[in-house]
Structure formats: structure tokens, C-alpha cells
Symmetry: C2
Subunit: 383 residues, 2 copies
């Protein structure tokens, strides 16, 4: 057995690239020890509930918070980009009603790149980023309608992203009680350093592939339960627990049997995720009080019991935990939680693709070979 | 301006993760200094022209070269998996005739995951890998027929992968002169260490996402001209050069104007890519003699002129350069070269996804933040 790496020099291998700097970015940063998230210089607490999702998108894509005139022209440009080409609608019609919405979204974004080649098969730029980000909620809403046997709703250009997404999903202009928590949610999730889906997007973009390829790959990565795929599972878990009385027995049973608790822990945060903190406050205001109490009790007891069993691990609830309560309060079913995360994160993904392209080098790491190297071919009749 | 990384410890940042070990693998390794490629212990020269594509797939997926009985049952299993669900055909019908085949393939694989959720929305295993790899050529062939206004051809289970791919593309069982060079090509391209598309697949799989998500992302990465997207461009370049007389003037003009030469250079190889060497020999046998001579003269003069202009850079033609001559000889148009690369590499991608899953840790690197961190929110009317 040989683990030879030939004569090449190799750098040490931290599992899962933990702590390895894969790229520079001016977009956002996660300060894991302090529990801080910064978008282009602004702490997330500075933005949440104050800046609109469109202001945050302007900040990430263009680099500064817009003034009124800039925001008006930016919104006009973004909101006029919500129509889906016929080929994308036909692709979504080919999806079965029980397809996972994340699979439908991944397929719809890929189809958009294939169908509108003139727009998307070029060096990615801000126009493309806006054209794609505006269409991600349209793709989701179209599939959401089609799976119920309903027709997709034609887009409007007079509603903001949060309003318009709910309008296209449910067919009515939503009231503030519903779209405002969604808007805050969207501002919180728009970017998050070199997370796995953003990293996947940058790896793909680094080959000089196109924007839809990068975002299609990112959607596939976000889907995984170790990344963005957990909030629907948090809802399932809380529904299974069912009542405050059952929290302790349920958690004891889960921990005794090494069942993974959904919505706890994060690779980078060793303090509370600031987004979780903000979402908890929103859930307290917006969610059904019984469901909020169940969530809070589950969080509190789980953290206490985890600390008892494995002291010092500095585990906290992550952004997915209270996402369940907030997005359920907005009226979304559990299988639309992760897709709604993608509505927001498409801004970050596309901003990272533009940043990667501005100073590109192919992202092509090495591997450590752990097999033999000395085998001799033997014809099949002698094996 | 601050480049603070908080209190976290960060490892140094090689651009594009060059030389950074991102994962261990027992599947294949590229010895860049020596110009060697090894699949599970076998030098590629041991396998090329001796082992069939199916034997190589068995080697990569299962770990050893099969004996006759193992190969027979393996082929029966693989070749019975070529049918496309109706929803995938409908998705491909939604693609315009001028869609890029790589975009159609990316969309078709994504649709397969959405449509056949029972099979593909599970923890990836060998059954899934074989089910997907067998369908990648079917998806390409179906799109290839549909874009000509023809019906896709129903699959058979009595032809090997190279034969069957050409059969479904062109409607006739190919003669040996055509399918044999394709088969050797497929064995050469099946895996290649931690290349960008394989790495993208592993990043996506590391979130515990599904196999079709990982391969969809990999297809998007392969499409980029810095990775697998170049062989069609090599064909374009050689056609533009047109004749041996024009090689020197064309290259001089290109080098004077910093035009990127297609099919030269590789991140890892600092010696000749062994696949390029094998493909050159195949091109000499299989390609139109005039086209082979043009290719050889272009290669020879480009390397001489590059050495004159930038001595010591150790540049060589890469695998894409003679891919053009070989796949053109097989009868494929230029825009099917990179998709045909994907037919082969799907074996490697899926083998890496299985390997990643066997000992998974989320691949989540860090980023270096190069922006400010201290901005204070100002309401829009005060900006």
C-alpha cells in the first residue's frame, strides 16, 4: 500500500477544507467566534428590519446602499425581469406534481440557461445576475401552481420581491403581516461567506462556465440537509414533538439513539448565529404562539441537554431552526422553505460569481491518493 | 480598510486552491511531474486499448477489474438502465434546437433527478450511479435527435456503451472503425483526480444532497473552457488555421495578440499528459490524414514558438487537443465533444460521490474578507 504523491509538494489536508481560505471576498464575512455576520461592512443587525431586500441586493451586487433615485431605477430594472420563457414553463410542466421543489428549481434554472442562451451564455455580468435572481421566485411559484393543477400567474412589476413571490404563489397581493417577515428573512439569508453552495458556484464559475451552470450547482448543494435542506426537517421534528410536554422525552430518546437534531450546530459559528437570534424575535411576533413556545422550549432544553451530555461543545441553534416558525407563519409549506432560502441566496451566489470572474483563477485543488499505484494489467481470461 | 479575519485562525491561501489537498481518494491520481495517470493502481497506459470502457467503469466503481462472469452481470445491469422516463423526454423537447448540448444534458440530468425521485432522491449508491451513468448518453442522443426534428431511438441492451451511444445518435449500429476509437477515448477520460467538475460534485455531495444534484453541478463545471469546454474550440481553431501553410502566420498573430491557444497547458501536468500522447496515436490512425497533419504541425510549431517566447514554462498539449481529431473521426460534431467527455466522466463523478459519502465531512472552506467591517446604517433619505 502506497500513499505516494509523486514528487509534487502537497499542503496539509484539513478535513472538509475547514479553515482553508478558498477565495477572497468583499461581499460578506462570518465571524464565527463572535457570532457576527457582515455584508460589505454592515453588521447584519444594522440591516435586518431596516434595509429592504432590494437595498441589500443593491449593496451586495453594486457595493453600496442605494439612495432613493438609485433604488427606484434598480427596482424597475429588477422587477421587469420576472417573465419566464415558454421553454422554462414547458420544462416545469414536465415535472411530476410530487417532485421536490428544489429539484424543480434546479431544473428550471438549468432550463433557463439552455433556453435563453443569448442572454445567459455569455461572460456573467450584473444584467445576467439580476435577470436570473428575478426569475428564481417566478420558477418556484410557477412550479407551486402547476403541481396543484393551476396555471402560473403572470408577473407584475409593481410589487417588491417578498410581495411578488407570495402573490405569484397564492394569487393575491399579500398583506404586510405576511410579506414583511418574509422580507426580513430574505435580507438575512442573502449571503454568508464561503458556504458550500456559494463555494460550489465559485468552483463552477472558475472554469469560465456560465451563470446558470454555477447557480444550478449551488441549488443542488443548498438542497443537502447539512447545508440549506434542514428547515423543512425542523418543521417535521417540531410537529413530531407536538407539545411542550413531549419535548424532554422526545429529546432524550433522540439523543440516546444518536438521532441528528435538526437546526443545531454550524461549521463556523462558535457563538450564537446572529440570524438565528433575529429570526427568534421575528418568530415570537409572527408565529402561532403555541408553535413558538414549542420551538423555544425545544431549543432551550436541547441546548441544556446537549451541554450536559457533551459539555463545552458550544452548540447553538442555527439559522434553520427558527426559519421553520417564521416561514410557516408566512404561509409557506415545509417543502418551500429551502427553495425560499434559494430566492434570497441567489443574490449572494451571483455576486460571488461576478467577483470570481473579476479576478479568476481555476479552482482546482489536489487530492491525496490512498490506493496502490503498481498494478499490472492482466487480460480478462487470466483474472 | 480592514482585512480582519476576526479571531479565527486561517490557513494560507494558495490561489485557486493549487496544491491544497481537498480530499483523499483511492480512485485515480495525476502525477503531474511525471506525466502519469493512475486508475486504482493501473497506469493509464496499462488500460488504454486493452480494457473496455465497461471494465474501467467496474474498476472505478467496484475496485477491481472484473472476470468474465462479473463483467457479464455488470454489463447486463448497466445496459438495462438506458431508458428515459417520459418526463425527461418532455424536458428535452422543451429545449430549443439551438440549445448547447451541455445545457441540454445539465437540464436532462437535473430533470431525471426530479422525475425519478424514488430512485434518485436517496443516499447515493452503486445502483444509482449505474442508473445515472447509463442514461447520460441516452439524454444526449435524445437531444441530438430532437434538435434535428427526429424522434429519439429506443434503447437496446445488447450493445456496449460506445456502440450504443453512436447507435442512439445516428440510428445505425456503428462499425468497429467508429466505435473502437470512441471506446478508448471513454476509458481515458473516466477519472482524473480532483479536477474542477469532480471537486464540484464532491462539494455538492458533501452537503448530503443527492446524486443528480452533484452530477448536474459537475456538468456545469465541465462546460467551462478552462476545464472540459475546449475541444470544440480546438476544432474551431484548427478549422480556422485551415492548412499547414497557415500554421506559422496564424500562431504568430495569435501569440502577438495574446489570443488563448486552445488545447495547451494544464494545472497539474508539468510533463506530457499521457492521455494526449495516447490520443495522438489514435488520431494518427483514425483521423483524416490532412487533419491529423494539420493538428500535429500546429502542436509542434505552437510548442516551439511558446518555448521561444516564454522559455521553461513546460507547456504541452492537453487531452483536449487531440480529442478534436479523434472525436471528429468518430463522426461527432464539435458541439458534442464536451458532452461525450461527460459520458465518460460520469463514471468518475459518481464514483467520487460514493467515496465522499462513505466518509463524509461537509466541504466548507473559509474566505478572506477584504472589505470594511465598520459601516453604520443610514436611512435611505439621509444617503
Amino acid at each position: 500500500m502506497s500513499t505516494s504523491s509523486g514528487t509534487e509538494e502537497m499542503l496539509p489536508k484539513p478535513e472538509g477544507l475547514e479553515g482553508v481560505v478558498a477565495a477572497s471576498t468583499a461581499l460578506s464575512h462570518v465571524y464565527g467566534e463572535e457570532g457576527r455576520l457582515v455584508y460589505r461592512g454592515y453588521d447584519i443587525h444594522e440591516l435586518a428590519g431596516k434595509a429592504s431586500f432590494e437595498e441589500v441586493a443593491h449593496l451586495l451586487w453594486i457595493g453600496h446602499l442605494p439612495n432613493r433615485a438609485e433604488l427606484a431605477s434598480f427596482c424597475a430594472r429588477l422587477w421587469s425581469n420576472r417573465d419566464l420563457p415558454e421553454g422554462v414553463i414547458r420544462t416545469l410542466e414536465a415535472m411530476p406534481a410530487d417532485a421536490a421543489p428544489m429539484d424543480a428549481l434546479r431544473t428550471g434554472v438549468s432550463a433557463l440557461g439552455a433556453v435563453d442562451r443569448e442572454r445567459f451564455d455569455a461572460v456573467p455580468d450584473l444584467d445576467e445576475a439580476m435577470a436570473l435572481a428575478a426569475r428564481v421566485p417566478s420558477i418556484l411559484a410557477a412550479f407551486f401552481r402547476l403541481r396543484q393543477g393551476k396555471k402560473p400567474i403572470a408577473p407584475r412589476s409593481d410589487l417588491n420581491t417578498a410581495q411578488h413571490y407570495l402573490y405569484q404563489l397564492f394569487g393575491e397581493v399579500p398583506d404586510e403581516r405576511h410579506w414583511q417577515p418574509l422580507e426580513v428573512y430574505l435580507t438575512l439569508l442573502a449571503d454568508h461567506g464561503m458556504n458550500a453552495s456559494t463555494f460550489a458556484a465559485r468552483v463552477i464559475a472558475s472554469t469560465q462556465s456560465d451563470l446558470c451552470s454555477a447557480v444550478t450547482g449551488a441549488i443542488g448543494a443548498l438542497k443537502g440537509p447539512l447545508h440549506g435542506g434542514a428547515p423543512g426537517l425542523v418543521l417535521d421534528m417540531l410537529n413530531e414533538i407536538g407539545s411542550a410536554d413531549n419535548v424532554d422525552p422526545w429529546l432524550t430518546h433522540a439523543m440516546d439513539n444518536n438521532v441528528r437534531l435538526m437546526g443545531f450546530g454550524h461549521r463556523v459559528y462558535k457563538a450564537e448565529d446572529p440570524r438565528a437570534e433575529i429570526l427568534r424575535g421575528m418568530a415570537q411576533q409572527a408565529a402561532d404562539p403555541a408553535f413558538f413556545d414549542l420551538s423555544l422550549r425545544t431549543e432551550t432544553r436541547a441546548l441544556e441537554m446537549l451541554e450536559e451530555r457533551k459539555p463545552g461543545r458550544r452548540l447553538y441553534t442555527n439559522v434553520e431552526f427558527y426559519t421553520a416558525a417564521v416561514l410557516a407563519a408566512v404561509g409557506l409549506p415545509g417543502d418551500m422553505f429551502t427553495p425560499t432560502f434559494a430566492v434570497s441566496r441567489t443574490v449572494g451566489w451571483t455576486a460571488h460569481v461576478l467577483e470570481q470572474g473579476a479576478n479568476n483563477r481555476l479552482i482546482r485543488p489536489q487530492s491525496e491518493f490512498v490506493g496502490r499505484t503498481d498494478k499490472t494489467f492482466v487480460p480478462i481470461d487470466q483474472r
